[in-house]
């Protein structure tokens, strides 16, 4: 096992170890179940379902990967050998017998034992020995396998048929022969420039009668203009029927191998095929000898100590949907609590009920405290540290360093910063893309860097920190930086902006987020094709986050992502326009102002407000949603912030702040631009929640178009 310092005492294990054990236990549990099913099938004399062997193979593969990740080489090695034996089985190189299942069982038991003892330094040597023994047994089993090619050679098939078969196709061929099917060759010649339709048709017809084992192309009689395809087809249908169905002026059907068991095929019909198939199968199967070797002494002694699996780990894996339900319930409670508070206020206003109101008020306060605690706990369950993504990014980085032949140091700070699990899961893709971009495009080759006076190795740093209700994640590189002028030129060339649009440097840089900016012509295997920065920005905006970019040519680039800590409960500002109410997420509200209508100025067809010397673009919510506003000399302005952009939203009244849970709207026309969802406000029905980004974007697009 790896020589890392770990504590063998379960309560003193590191969080990482516990996570590994939790996941590994799941995988082992699956393997046990699948093995049990497999044994049952073998015991019942049934055909072993390839799907199960495949599933166990994949479990071993996952276990191997997982162990590698946590540096547990012993477990990883054992898993690797297990993978080999399972691969042999699923490719038919090894037959599934009771002896092999027994071996797999033993391996799973050993894994269980090793898991229990993760980190226990005193067990290391013993564990090592057990692994070595098991590996030896597995290796022995693999070399005992019968090569299926022997079967094929005994059949006197035309070698030209076998030459171009891959191992998997050979396996399929043997399988079909074992099941007593006929083998025929269906051949046809087509035009070399237009063979697709003809071949599809031929293949379709062949699939109707059996399995296409392989498709062999060869030059046609006139090689310049023709191509010939020979399909090797295995079928239960009698040869006579096959010839009838597939033969045609352009197609020839020839028998390669009659079904085994020497049945006269002229008299064979499908009705009798089935019982004889069963015979041939059982005849061909190797005799099942119980072959299990005695359990080694060390393991026998230990098996008495093996605790039930459930008690090993103390983490619980939770379905994220259950957490969502929990969050919803807490959200509902929060809303009801607000309703109670308002009832208390109403009661307080009436002298007859004032005393009851005071009592109610006290209860409400206590409820409020407990609810906040509950909310905190549930949120806590959903929160996971960014460490997991960062580890994944680390691996991506190492692979990129190899593939690109660039040395880039990848550093992380704020590894323990926590975010809602849902957000974290969605962050993986955008972050990976940004890291790939930095490595591939931003960081120069070492020669370029030395020439520019930089260190030969590139540096990419990812920082995460919490700022109040938000988490900020920055990806900084010291590469070649981005030139606003270049980006602008490229955008013009792509037709994304008009040549005479005036843009600041920052706005030029932001153009990389425009849809269509990343060209699909760039062949860069590591960065992937056509996944542009626009996708990254959209992903983030779906999570309620935004991304900013800043850069110095020759020095480097920094991408800053700001995300809300949790999606679930948000604070909203409730506003009124005319007789309708709307909720605006507070984390998008920069400030609020109360103004006289006379302060509104008009400039170039837009309404603007002078705020501390700067011009703030205004947008009337009544115009946005076509609502009749109240006529008043005074108006409220909600200044919305989206990244660097500011928009003043004009409304009639404020109704206060509220904790709300945003629900998605259901219905036939639910997707409306400008509306993010809706929330329930106690006894007052549904209130629509405004989608700040689209309102702000639309306002600025209108400004640019004007």
């Amino acid at each position: 096992m790896a020589a890392k310092k770990r504590s063998g005492n379960p309560s003193r294990r590191s969080k990482a170890d516990r996570e590994f054990i939790a996941e590994a236990e799941e995988i082992l549990e699956r393997m046990r179940e699948d093995l049990a099913t497999l044994s049952e099938q073998l015991d019942a004399g049934q055909e072993v379902e390839p799907a199960f062997v495949n599933a166990i193979f994949r479990s071993a593969h996952s276990l191997k990967g997982l162990a590698g990740l946590f540096g547990l080489d012993g477990i990883g090695d054992l898993a690797h050998h297990l993978e080999d034996i399972l691969d042999g089985m699923r490719l038919g190189r090894m037959s599934m017998e009771n002896s092999s299942v027994a071996l797999l069982d033993q391996a799973v038991e050993l894994f269980t034992l090793l898991l229990q003892r993760v980190g226990d330094a005193s067990f290391e040597e013993e564990g090592q020995q057990l692994i070595v023994d098991m590996v030896a047994k597995i290796d022995g089993a693999v070399s005992n396998s019968t090569e299926s090619v022997d079967e094929l050679e005994g059949l006197n098939l035309d070698p030209s048929i076998l030459r171009a078969l891959t191992e998997y196709e050979e396996h399929r061929l043997c399988e079909n022969i074992r099941r007593g099917r006929h083998l025929v060759l269906v051949g046809s010649t087509f035009e070399i420039m237009a063979f697709e339709d003809g071949l599809s048709e031929l293949s379709r017809a062949a699939r109707e009668v059996g399995e296409i084992v392989s498709t062999l192309p060869s030059p046609g009689e006139a090689p310049e203009s023709q191509i010939r395809f020979s399909l090797l087809v295995a079928s239960d249908v009698s040869v006579v029927d096959l010839a009838e169905r597939l033969d045609s002026p352009n197609t020839e059907v020839s028998l390669v191998l009659a079904a085994s068991n020497g049945k006269p095929d002229a008299s064979q019909d499908e009705a009798t095929a089935t019982p004889t198939d069963v015979e041939s199968v059982t005849a061909a199967e190797p005799t099942q000898e119980p072959n299990a070797e005695p359990v080694p002494d060390a393991m026998a002694a230990r098996s008495a100590d093996i605790e039930t699996l459930k008690s090993i780990s103390d983490t619980v894996r939770v379905d994220i949907r259950k957490l969502d339900e929990l969050m919803n319930l807490v959200g509902e409670l929060v809303i009801q609590r607000s309703a109670i508070s308002r009832i208390a206020e109403r009661l307080a206003g009436d002298s007859a009920t004032a005393r009851v109101a005071t009592e109610l008020g006290k209860v409400h306060k206590a409820l409020d405290r407990k609810l906040k605690e509950l909310q905190g706990s549930v949120l806590d369950v959903r929160m996971v540290p960014l460490r997991q993504i960062f580890e994944k990014l680390n691996r991506v980085g190492r692979r990129l360093t190899r593939d690109l032949n660039k040395n880039v140091n990848l550093e992380f700070t704020g590894v323990d910063t926590e975010l809602d699990k849902l957000i974290v899961e969605q962050l993986v893709d955008p972050l990976m893309h940004l890291v790939r971009n930095s490595f591939d495009h931003a960081i120069e080759s070492s020669e370029e860097r030395i020439a520019a006076g930089k260190s030969p190795d590139g540096n990419v740093r990812i920082d995460a920190l919490q700022r109040g209700n938000h988490v900020v994640i920055q990806v900084t590189d010291d590469g070649r930086g981005m030139d606003p002028a270049e980006i602008r030129a490229k955008s013009e060339a792509l037709g994304l902006i008009d040549p005479d649009t005036i843009l600041t440097d920052k706005e030029c840089l932001a153009l990389v987020f425009a849809a269509g900016f990343s060209t699909r012509n760039e062949v860069s295997g590591t960065s992937g094709r056509g996944v542009g920065m626009d996708v990254v920005r959209n992903n983030l905006s779906d999570l309620g986050g935004i991304v900013d970019i800043s850069s110095e040519v020759g020095e480097g680039t920094t991408l800053t992502m700001t995300l809300p800590i949790t999606l679930a409960i948000i604070q909203a500002l409730v506003v009124c326009v005319g007789d309708q109410r709307f909720a605006i997420p507070l984390n998008s509200v920069f400030e609020t102002l109360l103004i006289e209508t006379s302060e509104i100025q008009r400039s170039e067809g837009r309404e603007i407000l002078n705020v501390r010397g700067e011009a703030l673009i205004l947008r009337r919510l009544s115009d946005e949603f076509d609502i009749e506003p109240e006529d008043d000399e005074r108006q409220y302005v909600v200044v919305l912030g989206l990244g660097e952009l500011r928009l003043g939203l004009l409304v009639d009244r404020f109704e206060g702040q509220q904790d709300t849970v945003i629900k998605s709207i259901q219905g036939p026309a639910a997707n409306v631009r400008g509306i993010a969802g809706a929330t329930e406000l106690g006894d007052r029905g549904a209130v629509l929640v405004i989608d700040v980004s689209s309102i702000v974007e639309d306002a600025f697009r209108r400004r640019d178009a004007a």
Binding site: R163, T166, F195, P217
Partner: protein, 128 residues
């Protein structure tokens, strides 16, 4: 300009192959076929200087492609690299037996593949 045809059904693998092969010392044009089937459609339409093919593909596999190309007067002179999986030595041997000019094993060293490609493009080692 050297014309290279890559035949590979896995998108990730294809990406890797194209990114490796775009960095040869000579200008290259890379075409991608997602199956042996597609490769057969590409072949008559252009003159290729090199074909790199995976072995395990559905419908028409790499071995069948090699067999076709090396059995055809028109295509047998095109150098052919087969990409095999570690552990499938028999497939690889068959490919070589059918006339493939070189092989690379997955996971491959990018520089190794480039070496082989450069050599074959320069005309050395093409079997006749």
């Amino acid at each position: 300009m050297k014309n290279i045809l890559i035949v590979e059904d896995s998108a990730t693998m294809r990406s890797l192959l194209t990114s490796t092969l775009k960095d040869l010392d000579v200008p290259v044009k890379l075409s991608e076929a997602r199956s042996g089937f597609e490769a057969l459609r590409f072949l008559p339409r252009e003159d290729y200087d090199l074909v790199v093919t995976d072995i395990n593909m559905p419908d028409i596999n790499g071995l069948e492609l090699v067999s076709f190309m090396k059995g055809s007067a028109k295509y047998r002179s095109i150098p052919l690299i087969i990409v095999s999986t570690e552990g499938s030595e028999r497939d690889r041997d068959k490919g070589l037996g059918l006339g493939a000019d070189a092989y690379v094993v997955k996971p491959f060293e990018p520089e190794a593949l480039r070496e082989v490609a450069r050599n074959l493009l320069a005309g050395a080692g093409t079997r006749e």
